[in-house]
Amino acid sequence: MKTFLNLLYKDFLLLIRDKAGLLLLFAMPLALVLIMTSMQDGIINVVTNTEVSLLLINDDKDSIGNAIEKELSQSTVFNTVNGRELNPFMTEDDLRHNISKGKYLVGIYIPDSITQTYILHFTHKIEKAMMGCNNTNNADSFLINVYLDPAIKPSVHSALMSNIREFMMKVQNQFTLKMYSDIIMKISGHTIQNLDLSQTQSLKVNEKIAEKANEETYRPNAVQHNVPAWTLFAIFFIVVSFSGNTIKEREDGSFDRLMTMPCSFAKYLSSKMLLYVFVCILQFLMVLAMGVCLFPLLGLDVFEINGHFFRMFLVVFCAACAAIGFGTAISTIASSQQQAAIFGSVSVVIMAAIGGIWIPTFAMPDIFKFLSNISPLNWGMEASYGIIMRDYSLLEVLPQCVYLLLFALFCFGTAVIYKKIKIN
């Protein structure tokens, strides 16, 4: 026990004297979680909040043009700027130029006389219909040009176009209904008071999340993905520091010296493991504290662990064991620090990629969905999602925890067997 405590003290001193290593262990996960969450939250805001800058030129200046302008200015999705207020002589070309330069995300040009053309066309169609003639020409359209920033992402593009089309449909419906009511009034002599069916959405889509029967349920957001994802990434990235330090001791001869003393390989390894498990837990607690205390101050969603701290702690502990097991195997097999650093970092990045740290596994092609099952980071992510969003019980996260511990055992076993072969 005394030897073990001395080794632990030695590893602790070595860790705290390694300033660059400490920065990698503690600053990196905090920075990753903060940057990734802010970025992803920002992208979501572009689609859902009043962050989309829109430049509008309304050359119609009549009912349809004014209705579109009014709807857009009242919208919570777009921050609408009237082009003519900026420059009374702004043309459609100027608008397109502004969008292509990235000054605005969206530009809408409403051409001159679109209302008059639409009224003429619509009245003509109704009259023909009432006279019993067939409306054969169904391809009538009135173009309102929408310009989008060329650098816009496909996912944002779809969401924006969907929003704009929805606005156009709303305006068109309002206008069409108004015309219908005018015609009915002419025919019947009755006035239809304030008929605005467009505001009445009878067929509603009620969106619900399939969660367990629990009052306190949550929808996944950038915070709830990134906090566990990057904590797990940082935990596994510890293999670089762990294997680096272990190989450094082997290269400078201090490991061999310890092995010539009354100190077994098991004691040597277990002191290191205990210290690094503690580091992993500290990483988790720091990221958790940031998610709970700092995120709300930065305008991000608070990280809700939903009262399941100990379940999450168990997952972190098992992930830490798996990471350190992996680090032990790498440090035993690799012949130099560079080899361990390259193999360790690349393998963790690959495991993170297929494990759903960057892209959720459901968005992956089938082959990668299948491959994700072999990534320890995916086991950790599944367990974390389960706890945070699906209200998993201890029993339900147990399989993932067991996989992580089995992975750790497999790695330790490999290291010990390799070591024995090397000595003999």
Binding site: L13, D18, D256, M261, N424
Partner: protein, 248 residues
């Protein structure tokens, strides 16, 4: 005289080599000896030291230290043997005192006794003023001295030294040799490797010259020198036996 180390017909083969690294090596180091284990690069010196340290195993033969077989009593023997490797095997980011405290504690030395021993050795080797400095800021000679102190912290009965004075200045070398002699007088048996024939001639009570994994000559330096009138010193004996051609 009681033998501290007996090596009998030891063979060691490395996987990717055709030749045996140790080829029926026989060696006896008696109590109180300062045994100089001399030989060219690749002769088998480091392999022997590694086997005696328990870092690698051997294939055939028998090795006893203080009458105990090293394969069977490895853990028990670790407490009685001191090892000073050729590399500066310390933790560079820790201070000299921290290094000595950690290594001494692993040997199981009690806290108070360890502190006294550390202070005594630091003074003895002229490092007392620098005990709170990190090793990474030490000079080459200071590093060698701290490397040696770690090996003798627990007052070993048998000390293995792998080129303890390589690459250091005359003053540090002289201080190390002087203190090793004192240690020997206090009862520590020493097995020492070196390429410095002059140092070995003056320091050792007995030398063994190894080549191609086997001892080719053994005796006191004086005994070896007086075997032929052609020999003027240990270096000339060595060159005559080993030859002047370069080794691996």
């Amino acid at each position: 005289m009681k033998s501290v180390l007996t090596v009998e017909n030891v063979i060691k083969r490395y996987k990717h080599s055709d030749k045996n690294a140790l080829n029926y090596l026989n060696l006896i180091v008696n109590e109180g000896d300062i045994y100089g284990f001399l030989g060219p690069n690749g002769a088998g010196k480091s392999t022997t030291i590694k086997i005696l340290s328990g870092l690698i195993s051997y294939d055939e033969g028998c090795i006893n230290i203080m009458g105990k077989n090293i394969k069977e009593h490895r853990e028990q023997l670790k407490k009685s043997i001191g090892i000073v490797p050729q590399d500066i095997a310390v933790f560079p980011s820790l201070t000299a005192y921290e290094n000595l405290r950690i290594f001494g504690s692993i040997y199981g030395i009690e806290k108070k006794a360890l502190k006294e021993r550390i202070d005594c050795l630091l003074t003895m080797f002229g490092l007392d003023d620098n005990k709170k400095r990190k090793i990474e800021h030490y000079s080459g000679g200071m590093k060698r001295r701290i490397n040696l102190i770690i090996g003798i912290l627990h007052k070993p009965s048998f000390l293995l030294l792998d080129e303890p004075t390589v690459g250091i200045d005359v003053q540090s070398k002289s201080l190390i040799i002087e203190n090793l002699r004192k240690l020997n007088q206090e009862g520590t048996t020493i097995l020492y490797t070196s390429h410095d024939m002059n140092e070995a001639q003056n320091f050792c009570t007995k030398v063994g010259i190894i080549d191609e994994g086997a001892i080719i000559a053994e005796g006191s330096p004086l005994d070896l020198i007086t075997r032929s009138t052609a020999y003027s010193n240990l270096e000339s004996v060595y060159l005559h036996l080993i030859g002047k051609s370069l080794r691996a």
